[in-house]
Symmetry: C2
Subunit: 352 residues, 2 copies
C-alpha cells in the first residue's frame, strides 16, 4: 500500500473498531454502608475501584458511593440484589434478619481470630458456606477487609463480677448484645451521633465501637476511663457483594481483576486499621494517662462463654443450616486455636 | 463503503494491527530459591503468574522456575539484577553478605510480628527503606508472603537454663545464629537433606526449620520430643524482586496488575501456611502425643534479648544506615507491640 491508501485504511479501521471498543467500556456502581470518607471501612471500595481502573486501562470503572449519597446504609443487600448497584460493601451480620446464617461471615462473639477465620474461609469450609448462604440473594459474597479483634468497649465503671453486668446500660448490637442481655445487661441502641453525649451524661454506662483507630475520632476516651479488651467481635470481616448476573456477564479478565483487587484491598484494610490503632492508642494513653486497660475477670468471661453457647445452641435448634455451620466452625476453631496459642500467644508471652 | 471494500479494509486493518498486537505480548521469567513444588513458599510466584495471565487475557505471562531448573537458589538476586530473569522470589536476608540492611525485610530475631511488620512496611518507613536498600541492585523489592511466627525448633533435650545452651550443637542460620553463638551455642550449617539423620543420630542436638506445616514433611517430630515456641523469626516475609528496567518498560496497566497480584499472593501465602500449620500440628500431636511444646524460660529469653541487642548494636556501630533503620524499627515496634498485646494478646489470654 502507498502512504495515502495506508492512512485511509487506518482511518477506516479506527472507525470500524471504535464502536465495538467503546461498547466494551464497563461502568459499575458500588454502594457502601459507610460514609465514603470513613476510613478504614471505606478504603477497600476505593482501592478496588482504583486497582481495577488502572489494570483495565480505564475500560472497567467502578464508582463507589457512600451513604451520604444513596441514603440507605442498611439497604445495600437489597440494592445489589435488585441490580441498582452491581456491588456493595457492608457487613454480613447486618442481614441477620434476612438469614441468621449471614452472621458467620463477619465475626462471632468469642469466635475465631482474623488468621483463624481467613484459614476457615479459604482452606476450611467458610467460602463454601458463604456461597450457599448468599446464593439465594443472587449475590457473590467476598471477604472485604478485617478490623482485627475489636475492643470490648468503654465503661464508666470497672466490671469486677458478673453481678456488675446486671442492669448495666450498654450500646452493644448484634449477637454480642444477645449474649450480654442473657447476663442482665440492658442493651440499648443509640445513633452514632448521640453516643458521646449519652456516655458522658451517664444515659448509658458503657458502649463498644471498634478499636483505638476509629474510637479516637468519637472521643469516648475523654469520658469513660475503662477500656476493655475484646471478646465480642474478634475478627470482624467486612463484605463485598457482587450482583451475580452482572459478574457473570463480565469478561473473564475483568472477573479476575475484580477478585484479585478485592483480596488485595481486604488485606490492605487490616493493615490500615492495625496501623491506625497503634498510633491512636499511643496518642490516647499519652494524652489521657488515666485510661485503664482491663480484661474482663475470669468468672465474667466464663459467664460470657456459657451465655454465648446458649445463644448459639438456640439458633442451632431452630435452623439446621446454622447447626451445620456451627458444628464445622467449632471443630475448625479448636484446631486453629491450638496453633494460634503456640504461634502468636507463645511469642507475645515472651514480653511478660 | 460497500461490502467488498469494507472487507478489504478490515483485512488490511487486521494485517496492520496484527504485528503491533503480537509485539505487545510480554513473556517474563521468574526464578525462585525453592523447588517449584515446595508449598507454601513456592505458592506466591505460581499465583502471581496465574493472576497476571488471567487479568491480561494471556498477553502478559510469567514463567516461574524452581531451583530444580535454574540450579542457583542463592543466585536469584544476581540473576534478577543482571536481567536473565525479570523477577525473583526469595528471602531478603539471604543477601546479608551483599548488604547487611537487606535483613530488615525478612524478620528480625525478637522483632516485629507479621501485623506489626506489615504496618511498618506500609504505614511506617519500611517500604521507604526497602526501596533505598534495593535501589543499588537495580531492583524493585516487594513483600512476597509471610510464614507467620516460626517455631523455635526441635530439641533433643529440654532447655532449662542459659547454661544448657552452652555447647549445644544447633542448625540455626542467619542473625539468630549470631545471637545463639553469643550464648555459647555451636552453630552449624547442614544441608536440608541431611538434617533428619543428623538430629536422629545426635550429630546435632537441635535445629529450627519453619513451623508445623513445613516441619511435618521433614519428620523432625519423630526424633526430637521438645518443640519450642518461636523467638528468632517472628514474621518471616519472603520477597518478590523485579528488575527495574523491565518493570519500567511495562505498560502502566501491567505494572498495576503485577503489584496487585503480588499483594494478593503474599496475603494468600500467610493464610496457606497458617492453615497448613494448624492441620499439621493437629496431626503431629495426635500421632505423637509425647511431643512437648515448650517456651524458653524467662532467664533464657532475657539472655537472648541481651545478646540480640549486642548483635544489633555492633552492626549499628559499623553501618550508619543500619543504625538509622534500627532506631526507626525499635520505636515503631514499641508502639505496635503495645497494641498487639491489647488486641491479640488480650484475646488469646481469655482461653487461659
Amino acid at each position: 500500500m502507498n502512504k495515502v491508501t495506508k492512512a485511509a485504511v487506518l482511518v477506516s479501521a479506527i472507525a470500524l473498531l471504535a464502536s465495538p471498543l467503546a461498547a466494551k467500556k464497563i461502568k459499575w456502581k458500588l454502594a457502601m454502608t459507610w460514609p465514603s470518607t470513613l476510613t478504614p471501612l471505606a478504603s477497600p471500595p476505593a482501592r478496588v475501584a482504583e486497582y481495577v481502573k488502572a489494570m483495565s486501562d480505564g475500560e472497567f470503572v467502578i464508582k463507589a458511593e457512600g451513604k451520604e449519597k444513596h441514603k440507605a446504609p442498611l439497604g445495600i443487600l437489597d440494592m445489589v440484589k435488585g441490580g441498582q448497584y452491581q456491588m456493595g460493601h457492608s457487613g454480613s451480620y447486618y442481614w441477620k434478619g434476612k438469614d441468621i446464617n449471614t452472621v458467620w461471615f463477619t465475626s462471632m462473639p468469642l469466635g475465631m481470630t482474623p488468621s483463624e477465620q481467613y484459614s476457615w474461609f479459604y482452606y476450611g469450609n467458610g467460602m463454601k458456606y458463604m456461597k450457599e448462604v448468599y446464593d439465594k440473594f443472587g449475590i457473590y459474597n467476598y471477604p472485604g477487609g478485617n478490623t482485627g479483634n475489636q475492643m470490648g468497649g468503654w465503661f464508666r465503671k470497672e466490671i469486677k463480677t458478673v453481678e456488675d453486668l446486671k442492669g448495666l446500660k450498654m450500646r452493644i448490637p448484634g449477637l454480642a448484645g444477645e449474649v450480654f442481655a442473657k447476663l442482665g445487661v440492658s442493651v440499648t441502641n443509640i445513633p452514632a451521633g448521640e453516643l458521646y453525649t449519652s456516655l458522658d451524661r451517664g444515659t448509658i454506662d458503657a458502649l463498644e465501637w471498634v478499636g483505638p483507630g476509629m474510637d479516637i475520632k468519637m472521643g469516648f476516651h475523654k469520658v469513660a476511663p475503662y477500656y476493655y479488651t475484646g471478646w465480642h467481635e474478634p475478627a470482624s470481616e467486612m463484605q463485598f457483594m457482587v450482583n451475580k448476573k452482572a459478574f457473570d456477564k463480565l469478561p473473564k479478565k475483568y472477573q479476575t481483576m475484580l477478585e484479585v483487587a478485592m483480596k488485595a484491598a481486604s488485606f490492605d484494610m487490616y493493615v490500615e486499621n492495625f496501623s491506625a490503632s497503634l498510633e491512636a492508642w499511643d496518642k490516647m494513653k499519652t494524652d489521657f494517662p488515666n485510661i485503664k486497660v482491663k480484661t474482663f475477670p475470669k468468672p465474667v468471661i466464663g459467664a460470657m462463654k456459657a451465655a454465648a453457647a446458649e445463644v448459639y445452641e438456640a439458633y442451632a435448634t431452630k435452623d439446621p443450616k446454622f447447626k451445620e455451620i456451627y458444628t464445622d466452625y467449632k471443630a475448625y476453631m479448636k484446631k486453629a486455636r491450638a496453633w494460634s496459642q503456640m504461634m502468636q500467644g507463645g511469642y507475645l508471652n515472651l514480653d511478660k
